[in-house]
Structures are given as C-alpha cells and as structure tokens.
C-alpha cells in the first residue's frame, strides 16, 4: 500500500514586520479564497491484494461524502487459473457463493473491492461508489476473498471526500414504472458533507438518436436542501438524461442519471385505444393503427445516452422524426415520446379530425358526380386512414375511394390506381386490428 499524494494547502504567512502588513492581508484573502474554492481532498490508494483490508489514512465524519472510483485487474487464482481475473466489481455473489463461501463479506460480490468505516460492517465499493458516511472513523478498502496469498495484479482506488452528491448516483437508471407507466418513482436528491444550504439544479434533456428535435427538449427544476437533508422529485411524462448540479457555498458537484421508459402491457394499450374510440364505427380500429405504426410499442430497447435501455420508439428511417405508439411527430411535444397516454390521445384525436375531413371530401366528390351514394361510416374510416397516414393527399383523385361509371350513374371503387400506397396503409391498419 502507498499513499501517493494528498495535496493540502498549508499557509505560511510571514509576520515579522509591519512592513509586510499589506502582504499579510493579501495572503489572508488568498487563503480565504483558496479554502472557499478548494477542491475536495483526493487520495489515490494502491489496494494490497494479498490482505483483507488496506488502511487509507482517510478519516471521515458521519454524513461526510465519499466518492470512490477503482480500476485494475486481479488474478485471484494465480498459478492455477490464468483466466480467473476480475476488476473491482468482482463476481456476483449468486455466481460465487458455492465456490467461495468463506469470503470476508458474504453476500457482497466475490473478489470485489469492498470498504468499511471505523471497523464497521463492510459495504460494496466495486468500480464506483458515492455515499454519505454512516459512521465516523478511518476508511479501509479491501478485497472480498477467502484466500489472499494467490492474488496478483493491481487495483487502484481514488477516494474523494468532502462535499458530494450522495444521491442520485452517477449513471442511475430510473424508469417510468408508476402511474400507469407515465411517471418515475420518487428520485432522492441528497448531498453528503454539506454544511448549510445546498442549491440543486436538475436539467433534463431528451433528443432521439437522430438528434431530434434540435435543439433538444430541455426541462430544468431547481430546489434546495439543508445540510444532510434530502429532496424527493418525481418525473412525469418526461425522460432522458438528467444533469444534476449541487452547489454548497462555493463548491459545486455534478452527476448524471437517466430516466427511461417501461414496458407498457398490450392489454393496457388495447383498453386505452378502445376507450378513446369507443364511439367509432370500428371501435377496435385504433389498435390496428398502433400495430402498423409501432407494433404496439411506446418504448423499445436501444442505445441512447450511452445506455442500453427502453427508450421512446423512434421511426427507423430518420431516427426519430416520429415517435411512440401512434408515431406522432417528435418535435411537437416531449410527451409524445414519454407519455403513451398522451401519444395515443393525440393520435386518436387526429384520426377523428380526419374522419371529419373524409366526410367533407366525400361530399365534394358526390357534388361532382350526381347520384353517387354516401359512404358508410366504415368506408369513411378507410378514407380517414389514408388521410391519417403518410400518403394523405388533398387531391380528390388520391383518396381511398374514387368514383367510377356504373351504368348511367356513379359508384365508388377502391382507388388502387390513384393511391396504391395509401390504400395499402388503410387496409393493413384494418387487418392488423387486435381482437384480444
């Protein structure tokens, strides 16, 4: 073990002569400024892999913030098993409990970096941990092993103590699992090592993988906590990456966490779409639209903000011009991406408006073709689907139905010639209806 460096500022003011009075004043100001702007103390520790605990020489007080980052590779079965290596995250307890039952901290990852304060109970450290000290005393870091003599390699830990964000942890992932999959559980904001007020800023940002919209959606909230107090916040109808900044006096700390989607059950989606269009001629029609548009997904697994998780389902062609169950335009409303109920409501409302447009277009066509009958309500739904889809057109010759001569009068035919893709879209929506 070696303590590589613990930089501390030790003022050494001169006081031998009044001549230096002004210099001393300046120095005092400098000392005050430096202490106010001082970075938190940081210490690098070489972990001794062949013993249980490595003292760090760092004394912490209860409630003080600690951030530990560790890296390196250890072979824990040197000479017998070259591939038996691990980084400070070690191996999950469930996978090693039988092979290493005698580790010093059963239940924590085997061959992982662990810690304790003042000789208290061990806690998992792994490659990264931020916590508020639950006790006072010296921090020790160690290896959760049962045989130490065969350990080789190198682990290095960097310990930062002082003011820190204890929660949310960097990289934490919160999903919209509450309120029918539209809201997050409560997220706790808590600082460690703070004296007095802590001013928080939580800036949420969301942009699809195709950088839509540009600039991204932003939503920022600010609040205060006192000393070691905490604040709970819930996120509803929004998600993305949240950059958290905590400021105590002149000290500022930043971390980031993610709000992702949650799987919305098919049954809930169907119930929702049925309720929104219960008065329609084909009450289940919106389930077919959602199936065609999104295969019934508001969120799907993909990589965004460096994290593979459930993110709003984006149109593949352009990486996000349209989004969610009804593939609504992303740039119009952040909620289209994050609130499946808002997304479906908007889609159905738009479709109803298209039904009205279809009725107007039908009347116009009938006016131009005397004797042509009115379309049924189901036929109007077909026409409205073309208007809702990407092949919508104002051209009377590009609607789902077109007039054609029949004897001395007129009749309607499906307009395959005028708008083949529009007709195909409408038909596939009808044929994709969910019946359960």
């Amino acid at each position: 073990m070696s303590h590589r460096s613990t930089p501390t500022f030790v003022p050494s003011p001169s006081s031998k002569s009044l001549i230096f009075f002004h210099r001393r004043c300046l120095l005092a100001v400098l000392i005050f400024w430096l202490s106010a702007h001082a970075a938190p103390a940081q210490t690098n520790i070489d972990i001794v892999l062949t013993q249980t605990w490595t003292p760090t020489g760092i004394s912490v007080a209860t409630g003080e913030g600690l951030t530990i980052h560790a890296s390196g590779i250890m072979n824990w079965y040197t000479g017998t098993c070259p591939s038996c290596t691990s980084d400070p995250n070690g191996v999950a307890w469930a996978q090693c409990a039988t092979s290493a039952p005698g580790v010093v901290a059963p239940g924590l990852n085997c061959w992982s970096l662990i810690g304790r304060i003042g000789g208290g109970p061990p806690f998992q450290v792994g490659t990264s941990l931020t916590l508020a000290a639950s006790a006072s005393g010296e921090l020790e870091l160690g290896v959760n092993d049962d045989f130490y003599y065969d350990n080789t390699g190198s682990w290095v830990a960097t310990v930062t103590h002082g003011f820190a964000i204890a929660s949310p942890l960097s990289g934490k992932v919160v999903s919209l699992s509450e309120m029918s999959y539209t809201a997050s559980p409560s997220v706790t904001f808590k600082a460690a090592g703070a004296a007095g007020a802590v001013n928080w800023t939580a800036a949420l940002e969301y942009q699809t993988s195709g950088k839509r919209p540009n600039p991204p959606f932003h939503s920022t909230r600010t609040f205060k906590t006192l000393d070691s107090g905490s604040e709970n916040q819930t996120y509803a109808s929004q998600g993305g990456q949240v950059t958290v900044t905590a400021k105590s006096g002149e000290q500022t700390r930043t971390t980031k966490f993610l709000i992702t989607g949650a799987p919305v059950p098919d049954h809930d989606i169907t119930e929702r779409l049925l309720s929104l269009y219960s008065q329609g001629a084909t009450p289940r029609l919106m389930t077919g639209v959602a199936q065609v548009e999104s295969t019934y997904f508001q969120f799907r697994g993909r990589l965004l903000y460096g994290t593979s998780a459930l993110w709003p389902y984006e149109s593949a062609e352009d990486h996000g011009s349209h989004i969610g169950l009804m593939m609504m335009p992303t740039k119009e409303n952040l909620k289209y991406a994050w609130d499946w109920q808002v997304n479906t409501q908007a889609g159905v409302t738009l479709f109803k408006a298209k039904l009205a447009s279809a009725g107007r277009l039908m009347k116009r066509i009938i006016q131009m073709h005397p004797g042509l009958r009115e379309l049924t309500s189901v036929e109007l739904e077909h026409m409205a689907l073309v208007l809702y889809g990407p092949r919508a057109s104002a051209d009377l010759g590009k609607q789902y139905y077109a007039p054609t001569r029949s004897g001395n009068g007129w009749t309607w035919i499906v307009n395959n010639a005028g708008n083949r893709l529009g007709v195909g879209y409408a038909n596939s929506c009808f044929q994709s209806i969910h019946f359960e």
């Binding site: 593949a316 119009e332 738009l350 889809g389 092949r391 919508a392 499906v414 395959n416 879209y425």
Partner: protein, 278 residues
C-alpha cells in the same frame, strides 16, 4: 389552375424585396432567396393562391426561385396533409406571367429543402432533387427510398432522372457501392444493406442499365421469414413486373402477415388498374 392569381413577384415587390436584394430574376437561379416576411408571408400566399392543394396542409420548407429562367419568381414548398408532419409532397407554384400554375409532386419525408435545389449539369437552370419512397411505409420500421431529379419542362416539374447519369454515378452509386463493400458484420443496422441494395437497383433501372435490376434478389427476399424483407421484395416485383414476379406477388397477397398481404394485394390491383387505364 388556369385562374388568374396574385403573382408571387407582386407579393415580393410589395415587401420591397427586389430593391433589397438588387437581383434580377433573369439571372441564374436565385435558390434560397427568402422573401421578406418569411414563413407567414409564404403561408398566406399559399392560402390565397394554391387552392385545394393547400387545404388542410402544413407548410414545411420552401424556396423562392426561378424554375425556368423566365425572370419571374416561382415557389416550391414541402407540405404535409396528414397532420403528422409527413412532408411528402412538394407544392410548385409557377408564375407563367399570365397565369399561375399549381402542381403537387409526390416526394418522401422532405423536412428540409437544403441541398435540394442544384444546377447539376451547369446549364444555368435548376434541378430539384426529391427523395422518393421505394417501399411502403411500415410505421417505425425501416423503408427504402431513392433520390429523383426533377426539372421544369413545359409548364411543370417533370422527373428527368434518366438524363443525369453522372449525378447518379458519382453521388449515389459510388457511395452505395462503397458501403455495400463493407463486410456484413460491420453493418450498422440489420436492414442497412437491404436499403442500399434497393436504392442501387432502382437507380440502375431508372438509368436503363439493368431493366430488371434486383428481380432475382427480390424473388429470394420474397421467401424470407422476415415480413419486412417480404415487403421490400414486393416493391421490386411490382415495379419490374413479368410473369414470375406477378405470380409471386399474388402469392404474397395471401401472406399471413397483414401488412405484406395488404401491400401485395394493392400492388397487384394497382398494376391491373394501370394496365386497364393504358
């Protein structure tokens, strides 16, 4: 649209734009010229002059330019009729002096006209590059497209893609071939190579180099277990035609996947309707 309408040039003069820019419209195209007043003026102009073509429409991007070098300003604008920002049509308002003509050109997903107005052959007249869909819309799933070259001929924009082989060789086919040469495992997304192949084959057909380009590949895609690939196949089969393609299309009309079946049925019916019309 034979009705006399307010010429766009009058609108611009009213705003003093000609004085402001000091450019004669007889000069080469003034692509990118934006009238004083911006979007709201264009929106009002379209409402006043585009008639039914701008009913229930949302304005996307636009350019004021001289399409035919007659010294009068014309307008092109992308519009959405769905209410979902699918900018799949280009409105063309051509000021012919005595009358204003309105044309609607099908396109695909043109949010921006940046780079769409170019003089590809250096003859001093603009060409309009418009993205077109090659495969049906499948919601969030991928779809293929290609870029067509339009040019003002007579009194309207006409697809003149086949007249620009150099453009396709250097700016479309060469990059596609480079991408297709990358080993399969390095592909970014599962359909990337399919989409590039569809676009390449379409260009080869348009240029008349390989009239049935992609047919064999489409026949094999039609047997794919992936319905998205079967839909890719039916797009090629419907365009290339022929007895074998038609037989496979009819079979796809019975596909268990509702989207495959729907688009195959309309492809067959659309082909029949076109032939009947001819």
């Amino acid at each position: 649209m034979p009705k006399q309408r307010t010429p766009l040039i009058a609108l611009l003069v009213a705003f003093g734009i000609l004085a402001a820019i000091g450019v004669g419209f007889a000069a080469p195209p003034v692509a990118g010229l934006r009238p004083f007043g911006g979007r709201s003026a264009i929106d009002a102009y379209l409402r006043a002059n585009a008639g039914e073509a701008y009913e229930d429409a949302t304005l996307g991007d636009y350019r004021v330019l001289d399409l035919d070098n007659d010294g009068r300003a014309d307008l092109i604008a992308t519009v959405d009729y769905s209410g979902r920002r699918f900018f799949n049509h280009l409105l063309v308002l051509h000021d012919g002096g005595k009358r204003l003509t309105v044309q609607v050109v099908d396109a695909w997903n043109i949010e921006s006209l940046d780079g769409a107005v170019q003089d590809l052959n250096g003859d001093g007249r603009v060409e309009i590059l418009l993205r077109q869909s090659l495969t049906p819309y499948l919601g969030a799933k991928p779809m293929a497209g290609w870029t067509a070259v339009f040019r003002f001929e007579g009194d309207k924009l006409v697809d003149q893609s086949e007249r620009f082989p150099q453009f396709y060789d250097t700016r479309i086919l060469a990059p596609i071939e480079r991408e297709l040469a990358v080993p399969e495992g390095d592909s970014k997304a599962p359909y990337d190579k399919d989409l590039l192949t569809l676009e390449r084959d379409k260009v080869l057909r348009v240029l008349g180099r390989v009239p049935a380009a992609g047919l064999d590949w489409a026949l094999s895609l039609a047997r794919s277990e992936d319905p998205v690939r079967r839909i890719f196949a039916l797009s090629v089969l419907a365009e290339v035609g022929g007895s074998e393609a038609t037989a496979v299309l009819k079979a796809l009309g019975e596909d268990l996947d509702p989207q495959v079946a729907s688009y195959a049925v309309v492809a067959v019916a659309g082909g029949n309707a076109r032939r009947a019309g001819e």
